[in-house]
Subunit: 329 residues, 2 copies
């Protein structure tokens, strides 16, 4: 950090602000500090850090699936913050399998990573207590840890879903379906709660065949949607619980003669070019990754209180067309 | 491997076949071997491997950008093969910066990875020779190494582009534009070559304002397309050199009164639901990652000749509508 400050001709405080992406630094200064960091490179940071702190300058990131664009954006943001701190990144996909999550986490710990950023698949993280006690900084992201107190960075899933469902209600819908991910997944449960709350707030009933939770495979989503659209009280609108569900719902609904309104949780590329353009409740995957990694490095710098932090990012409704379709009957 | 074979009740040869995804094993046996691998877990494999070979059971993957869905799919495939071999994965994004590529590669080597899978940003990899000589298995993917002989897994970029441009010619186009990535990038150069060859094969000229190479930012693609569509001999069709270009081209062309035919290199999600559905030349990012990682582990097992291998995967035309639009004038 001192070398960077000297090379960029700024104070240590400024370097720290740039690295932590804090406000109050002019773009010109940011560029100067970045280029000093680039010029001095990883390896030098690395060796210095290792000598000074006996750290390994590496971080482990466990997420659900590297091939999912949501986690791609989250990973890249974690990587960028790690890089600014001279740390390398291990990544691994749990595929929603709690045992695989645990294997990856413990394998990363065996390599003596300084810290972990974890999108948990499981709901019991007591296995991590010895590692955290031994000094491995750990921040959970997207979903909270289970049965331990730990830092977490989340989206306001229930609030975002309430907003999206209330939007459909405001456009005249009374029979609204919800298709979500597996009920054991925290985000899926929170979004279902938001759906129920929005319906209750409007004094609307929720029939048992109007919501379906389970794997987000195309087959399962197709079957759930077919049920909702064919019962005695078919839905006139759907809230899709994540981008995998939305993509399949778009396919199914585009083939139907009668329009069905659709709001999806998570934005996705080209949503605005579909017919109709897809209304979404957008979260910020890069923001989740960035906040989690910044919290992790603040922990490693000892710059935070002992109490676990909980950061909650808002979700934002983007009205584009599909969510503003009135009820067909 | 012995433990896995015993637990699954199969021979060592069968375990090796499953791990290397070779044919000749029934799905039932694959499932049995996989579940034995899962049950025995990473850590055990890890320690055994370390004891036996003094390896670190880790692999470094350097790519352009973790947040790009193409590299997300490639990464996940590398991770899956690494996992089957009990190895963990370091990942890093070069952001098309040769110095950052080198920093990442050398940082991974400093952590003593057993092997590297590299999507090169630079065109001179002589800096890697000492590492390769020291035993770090290295496979390049998507683009070849520069100034050293090394293993590489590629898509047939020129051939795929020739097919796509010939398809436009077969639908009556004579003035066809090409927008590609920066000319220093191997894949970009190969695709430009394929475009030129297809035009030459059909006896068609290529005007200098019909092709444009450079960063694939939306602004640059918009400007290049505007030039091609407004000159004295405007193009009636466009070949988009990668999925970033295609996405921007779809946006620009959807706002025009006169249809322009479009074929894009790289498939992308929802391409079939756009209006018109987008015709693409699809490569197989997971296949690139899988082949590269399998080659890497064959090298680590000493199961290959000394000669560097070159694997070329085909690209496949998927006609969906946008590439079959006739010339507007």
């Amino acid at each position: 950090m001192k070398d960077v400050a000297a090379r960029a001709g700024v104070g240590l405080k400024t370097v720290s602000r740039v690295v932590n992406e804090e406000p109050g630094v002019t773009p010109d200064t940011v560029a100067r500090v970045q280029s000093a960091i680039d010029a001095l490179g990883f390896r030098r940071n690395d060796s210095a850090r290792l000598l000074r702190t006996r750290r390994t300058a590496s971080v482990g990131l466990v997420l659900e699936d590297l091939a999912d664009p949501f986690y791609g954006a989250l990973s890249r943001a974690v990587e960028d913050v790690a890089r600014a701190h001279g740390a390398l990144l291990f990544t691994g996909s749990s595929a929603e399998n709690p045992r695989r999550e645990q294997e990856l986490v413990l394998a990363f710990c065996a390599r003596r990573v300084d810290g972990l950023v974890v999108v948990p698949a499981g709901d019991d993280h007591r296995y991590l207590t010895p590692e955290i006690d031994a000094g491995v900084a750990t921040v959970f992201v997207d979903r909270p840890a289970g049965r331990i107190d730990a830092d977490v960075v989340l989206t306001d899933n229930a609030g975002g879903t309430r907003t999206g469902v209330a939007h459909l209600i405001a456009h005249g819908h009374r029979r609204i379906g919800f298709i979500g991910d597996q009920p054991g997944i925290h985000t899926a449960g929170e979004r279902l709660r938001g759906y129920r709350e929005a319906m209750a707030d409007a004094g609307l009933p929720v029939r048992p065949d109007w919501y379906a939770m389970g794997p987000t495979t195309p087959e399962r989503v197709r079957a759930a949607l077919a049920t909702m659209l064919s019962g005695p009280e078919p839905v006139t609108a759907l809230f899709a619980g994540n981008n995998r569900v939305t993509v399949t719902a778009v396919r199914v609904l585009s083939g139907r003669p009668q329009p069905v309104a659709l709001v999806g949780f998570d934005d996705f590329e080209l949503a605005d070019l579909l017919d109709p353009p897809v209304t979404v409740v957008a979260q910020d995957p890069a923001g989740l990754g960035r906040n989690a990694a910044q919290l992790l490095f603040r922990r490693l710098d000892g710059a935070t209180s002992e109490e676990p932090s909980r950061v909650e990012l808002p979700a934002r409704l983007i009205a584009r067309g599909s969510g503003e379709i009135p009820p067909a009957y």
